[in-house]
């Protein structure tokens, strides 16, 4: 009697082990380590690469790409319908309404322009359009034309509020080329955050955004391109554990040579000519994408010594690479040299 009762009580439990068995068997094929999702697109005239960790990786990457494209359509002065184009058209007339994103980017640009004493200048468009480094064939403009245009380049002519901006003088114009790729990284990382991915790395051109910690616990390695080498040559790498943005500005990226003179695309808003940087490239690590992008331009123009306090203000650090093969770190960063042609300058 007792045994029979026990048996009865036992019987309904049988399905549990059977379920476990089935579950374990079904677990086997799914036991493959989850690989990060990678996606490559083209935006802002550059390659955009994403590596996203986490189950929502694919969706997040697609969303992030469209956010980057949206950013381009908001801030590129070359796109006639962009908010920046409208702002430029209305220069000297009236304020242009802006999306909060564009207004905030302009605000950051204005702040950084003032902090860097014009080494980075968002109102450079009259000059950059004159030099037009994307044209072919390329010529250095006449000095008189440069002098004319210089009169329109000053951050003082730009007024920004939370949802609008105004250029005070007709002929002024905004060019966010030195901030755009970094701003795209900002937008992408924001998408990662919203979508709840575990971690992700995005690069738009040479601007990089890093979100979260890599699932395998290792640090991110961001290689720094060798300014004198081919596209695949690197100097070494920066080690980053989590959330950070990296951008590089250098005279090797875009330039032309005319009558034996090399003209590089980073313009000095004071002279109207390409900046005569001491360094060939400057790589900046900061806590914002647009900020790191603008800082790299400003630091390139300023040089290491004058950059020190600016970087400090922004809690950023930079790596200056000199033509003689010296590499100088300013601020707190971890760089590992792997290229034998270079040496790290000890302070």
């Amino acid at each position: 009697m007792k045994a029979a009762e026990k048996k009865k009580a036992n019987r309904p439990r049988l399905w549990i082990p059977v379920m476990i068995l089935l579950l374990a068997v079904m677990l086997f094929p799914s036991c493959k380590a989850a690989a990060p999702y990678e996606q490559t697109n083209y935006v802002m005239g550059s390659v955009m690469q994403q590596t996203v960790y986490g189950s929502s990786g694919k969706n997040a990457a697609a969303e992030a790409y469209s956010a980057a494209v949206d950013m381009e359509y908001m801030i590129s002065w070359k796109i006639g319908t962009s908010e920046i184009s409208r702002l430029n058209e209305n220069a000297g007339k009236e304020a242009a309404e802006l999306s909060p994103e564009t207004a905030s980017l302009l605000m950051q640009a204005l702040d950084l322009s003032k902090a860097s004493n014009g080494a980075f200048d968002p109102t450079i468009l009259p000059l950059s359009a004159l030099w037009n480094f994307d044209s072919n064939p390329q010529h250095a403009p006449e000095q008189e034309r440069i002098q004319e245009r210089l009169a329109f380049v000053s951050a003082d002519y730009l007024k920004v509020s939370e949802n609008s901006a105004r250029l005070l003088k007709e002929g002024c114009g905004i060019d966010l080329g030195a901030a755009g790729k970094g701003a795209a990284c900002d937008a992408v990382i924001e998408v990662y955050r919203e979508q709840g991915v575990r971690a992700g790395v995005v690069s738009v051109g040479g601007s990089i955004g890093v979100f979260g910690r890599k699932p395998d616990g290792s640090d991110y390695r961001i290689a720094v391109r060798d300014p004198a080498g081919t596209l695949s040559d690197t100097l070494g790498y920066l080690t980053i554990s989590t959330d950070a943005f990296v951008s590089t500005s250098g005279d090797y990226e875009k330039f032309f040579v005319e009558n034996g003179i090399k003209y590089s695309h980073i313009l000095d808003s004071k002279t109207g000519y390409p900046a005569k940087g001491e360094a060939v490239s400057v790589t900046v690590i900061a806590n914002g994408g647009a900020v790191s992008d603008m800082l790299s331009t400003a630091c390139y123009v300023l040089g290491a010594e004058k950059s020190r306090s600016l970087l400090e203000n922004y809690g950023a650090a930079a790596l200056f690479v000199y033509p003689d093969g010296e590499i100088q770190a300013v601020g707190d960063l971890e760089f590992t040299l792997t290229n034998e042609d270079y040496q790290v300058k000890t302070p």
Partner: protein
């Protein structure tokens, strides 16, 4: 007096039984060796059918007879498959037997739980040995072995549960 007699009779019977079960364990582990290696598993990872025998002995006759069978199995592996196989089998067999015995003693675990624990201990001991004998690559298998243990242990428990009534019948005869 009667009690002693009964014990003596049981003693002989138990030794005979143990011999039969030891032979059964060897046959099972030999048959298992004929199966193809399990995918994604390190060498030596098996269904653990012969574990059923040690499991039964551990529950019905106690720790030492069960360990005896585990050692026999290890020696058998040594004769047929070489020294490393013996080390692996001994380590896995003895650890799992000891653990299964302890779990039976607690009376909290069912056949499936004991089976899973035994399979887990077996695999863990083998993996540890393999780790020392070769290199770190083996650790890659650890999580898969956990899953494997859960499956094969459950299987062992179910099989033993199915076979137990038959053994009972035999014993009564």
């Amino acid at each position: 007096m009667r009690l002693q007699d009964k014990n003596r009779g049981n003693h002989a019977r138990r030794i005979a039984e143990l011999g039969i079960f030891a032979a059964l364990a060897l046959v099972l582990s030999f048959l298992e060796g004929l199966l193809p290696p399990l995918p994604m598993m390190p060498p030596g990872a098996k269904l653990g059918l012969s574990n059923i025998v040690t499991m039964f002995i551990a529950s019905s006759q106690g720790l030492f007879p069960a360990l005896l069978i585990a050692v026999l199995k290890g020696l058998f592996a040594g004769v047929t498959r070489g020294f490393t196989a013996m080390i692996l089998s001994l380590a896995g067999g003895m650890l799992s037997t000891a653990l299964m015995y302890l779990l039976f003693r607690t009376n909290k675990f069912g056949l499936i739980g004991v089976g899973v624990a035994g399979a887990f201990a077996h695999n863990a001991a083998q993996l540890a040995c393999a780790y020392f004998l070769t290199s770190r690559t083996m650790l890659w298998y650890a999580p898969w072995l956990c899953v494997l243990s859960a499956a094969t242990g459950t299987l062992s428990g179910l099989l033993l549960c199915a076979v137990l009534p038959l053994i009972r019948k035999l014993e009564r005869k």
